[in-house]
Symmetry: D2
Subunit: 339 residues, 4 copies
């Protein structure tokens, strides 16, 4: 079976999901959508994607720019089995009416509330739960990173309690209008919403999170302190556990990857999938075990970490793979995600 996939919204996440879907053998990309012409629309057409007009968009504007269009979003939906909604926050829930009208399955992103869907999704965390579902929500970038790590730790040593401070990048690289330029902005929701969001994947996990926003565009960084139920034999055992799990990349000390700037440089040098880092990033020298106490940093590439998750979510909904590991392996091979 080949699932026909539409991507509604061709921005930071949507353009990456479109590329990822187009790279799968069991899926076909029927089109992408955009409200107005810009350099991203131009790239979509250059890649051979059919471009449909979203929302209030006007064909005349696309025509004036010389960007070929293939119809409107409702027309795109008619050709698809599932739509990946990658519209800006809050627009997703408005789009829901369109998807109901088209009688089409839909995947939402983590900017939408959990209640919008039948299940929240993380491939390592709870793949089977989305089997056969019609509305699935792929959790946000930070929740994805935390959930992946939770799947490693809960299965091996158990988690008694988890504290994470999320140091958030303030804007995506091309969001040039957003600040702050110089300053730290606390998130005054205490604990932050990320903990409960992880619990949509791991309902029994005891986790409390806090957050601050800082002036960088590259990656989020999580500072994790976990009290495990049983003590790992040592830090090296934890390093190995992450290294043998897909979708993690653990840097060694000798690599001199001192922070997020070097992680992004590594991703560029690897030159794969548009310089993205779809793995959660850990550092060997950023993992410390003291009895049952585990400290570790994880860096999250906000623009791309959820991309393979969207692919796996489609596979789960349509039962295209027997289990999570199989789907992950297929996705990662197609996207060149190593581990």
């Amino acid at each position: 079976m080949t699932v026909r996939v539409a991507v509604n919204g061709y921005g930071t996440i949507g353009k990456r999901v479109a590329d990822a879907v187009a790279a799968q053998q069991d899926m076909v990309l029927v089109g992408v959508s955009k409200t107005r012409p810009n350099y991203e629309a131009d790239r979509a057409v250059a890649k051979g994607y059919k471009l449909f007009i979203a929302g209030e968009g006007k064909k005349s504007e696309f025509d004036a720019a010389g960007i070929a269009t293939a119809g409107t979003v409702p027309e795109m939906l008619q050709q698809a089995d599932v739509v990946v909604d990658a519209a800006p926050e809050k627009i997703g829930r408005e789009n829901l009416k369109l998807y109901d009208a088209a009688n089409i399955r839909a995947i939402f992103q983590g900017g939408e509330k959990a209640a919008i869907a039948e299940a929240s999704f993380n491939a390592l965390g709870n793949y089977p739960r989305s089997k056969g579902k019609r509305r699935v929500r792929v959790v946000s970038c930070n929740t994805t990173g935390l959930s992946r790590a939770a799947s490693v730790l809960t299965s091996r040593w158990g988690v008694e309690s988890w504290e994470a401070t999320i140091v958030r990048r303030a804007a995506d690289p091309a969001e040039s209008g957003r600040g702050p330029i110089n300053g730290i902005m606390p998130t005054f929701t205490l604990p932050s919403h990320h903990g409960p969001d992880v619990q949509t994947i791991f309902p029994d996990l005891s986790i409390a999170t806090t957050a601050v926003v800082v002036p960088t565009t590259l990656m989020h960084v999580h500072v994790n302190h976990v009290r495990l139920k049983t003590a790992p034999p040592g830090a090296q055992a934890v390093v190995e556990a992450f290294r043998e799990t897909p979708r993690f990349h653990v840097f060694s000390a000798w690599e001199h990857v001192d922070g997020t700037p070097q992680v992004m440089e590594f991703a560029k040098d690897r030159a794969r999938g548009g310089s993205d880092m779809m793995e959660g990033v850990l550092w060997e020298n950023g993992i410390r075990v003291d009895g049952r106490e585990l400290y570790f940093f994880q860096a999250i590439h906000q623009e791309s970490i959820v991309v393979p998750e969207n692919v796996d979510a489609i596979r789960a909904m349509f039962d295209l793979a027997p289990d999570a590991r199989t789907s992950i392996a297929i996705t990662d091979r197609a996207l060149g995600i190593g581990h």
Copy 2:
């Protein structure tokens, strides 16, 4: 008694300590020192401070700039009862020989190791311990903020355990050579050195800290999660506890102080002591109590928070005040620190 104070090193901390000492009635500033002429040296002279030449500095360079000098550091030390060492990190321990030679008491900053002094000092935390001492170390800006908060919490509800993530500004405002410009740099010492440093003030406190460096010059922000021994009646009780303690400033939600940029703007508007914020900064809506669990943010003005502590340390060493509260009140009145 009037204590004669020399300030060795007239940079970010030293120039502020000099102003603070000059404002006290029980102290007299005998001079400050600098290695080479620059705009800060010019300001020192404009303020009427005697300027002595430090280290490898050359009188001819000062003469060429038209900056009057009053001798060398050894000469300055002969006129003083105590020297506040505000030299860059690691230089302090070299200066120790000079102070030994001059047979003079000395205060070091938190960049030096605890072993350099007979006692580490925080006014609210352990004032009496420095009475009569000859070598005292004022703990660093982050440790000062944590220690002040610890004095509030341990005395009222007791602290079972404390977790803090320290989101550090990467450079002082005028340190234009330091980065990162865009990125987050984890501190790979896990837990970070700040916890043990707080224990030089509160030896029995159970505290674990972690740190990241972010591209801002304004303030550090601490994200604290404390498990208290007894539950406070509610968040408002914690707010009140901080509000009634000197050297804290708690912003209300209606003030719309959303982060460190607005804190610094407030400090400028208050226009006191060179736009500094010598208080630890909390937010009413950034304090959350859930049973014995307490979450709160504290912002730390790295350039000035230790300044009143240096003044109190002198008073403790020379027994100029009967207790911490009295010294703090005298210092704060002279410096215009409200609460």
Copy 3:
């Protein structure tokens, strides 16, 4: 005669103008206005300023915050001879109706178009032109800096042509919502609007300007290349010309003020008027003369450079001083602006 002054809008510019007016002996500040309570409103009341409610503001909100108010803007206007409009861009022109209704003189800021007023104003440039006027516009921070410099150069050597690239700070320090965080944004109006704006002060000046926006909050920097009509005897003559003109500060090389971070640190150390730098800032080693060709940098503190100009504009409108130099001297003495 004592002129009664109201300041409508108590933000970045308004709060500084209010302080500056309150410091003049021939003026009295009748009040300031604000739409909603925040930390700035709190400071206004702490300083003893009467606070009036602007626009859609609600008394109940101020009451809830415990901020005393003295009425609404129309009531404030009735007590004043002149209002300084310091509202956000575009609001100024709406406020015009209020001022017409109150039959009150008004000063607008440079964010408004020149046509809003009978004259555009710069103290060194064209003080006499605003004598007796009812509507005057103080030109923007960048135009003020260029106009001040033009008054120095046109009067001494004449200007044949002037090229300036304006490297603009992207946001004020407390505007934490604005970006970019990492990037340079060209201003696609070529030449930029600043040249014509300078011509509202110097109608015959041949000047062409260009602009880019960069991720800093501290100061703008102008890169000037002027072809003079006659060659100065050398760079030192130009240095002296700026040094002997009020409202310029020229740093010497030995001061090691390497850029805008050190300029702001100098302003803090000088601790005057809220750490502001109301002078145009030049560098001795940033001035180069080659025959009739003059190159120089000028840094502009966007938050404060127009503040003394507003004071002088009032004096010009009400004929409180015989000429520009007298008014400037009075203003600068009151504000502590040295030169």
Copy 4:
């Protein structure tokens, strides 16, 4: 003939030149060098490049990291016809002795002084001059951008005079130690060294440049004002001239590429050559013609713009192509540079 090329120094420029050389059919990459193991060394080996140990580097360090090495730099040089020196500034001139000893041809980067080589090189500007030369210097990123533009303008309309302000990014993306974080740093050499450097390519060009450093890592931006000898028919003619010349990319207004963040996003979306932008970047709405006066912005990707120039320089030295256009076409096809 196939030229054997060694790349000495595998950092920001060297790693890109190595990839570019490896992609040419008339060249073979014999190896690259590095002083110590890090993530870049790991990538080099992963790509199949032979890695040689440079300078004070120790084989034991590479061995410990599991990074295979193939010898030392002198050994690498023995296998090559030409070495591209991509060492940090000033190291290049030290390396010269090695190249003399190995009796090998060499290309230096623009960080070295012009006198190090027999010719300075820019493909569009002066390709033939490097024919048969043994020592060639590829000019720096900013000089390359200016020289490419000069080749367009001088050949079509002639240049009477050229003013450029160079707004420089302060650090490369992974140079996390460099600032400033918040501020603008003027370059006090007036005019800056870039003008004379362009004259190593266009000796008769009348050009004066100035520079400031700003807190961004993405790209430099030049603000150009050129007085042409003859007036172009209009701005569109200039747009077309740049569009029909290789190694320029001109964005249209409808693409909404508002600044350097969007240029870099475009480069990522194009996903070619490690997300680089080897073309000089112009904006249709950032080009203005007024008679003989031409204003335009050009953005320069500091990490990659010189990469194709290094390839062409090799081809010129060894006479592998009949002329510049042929070499450029071969290089650009291999690297996927469109225009």
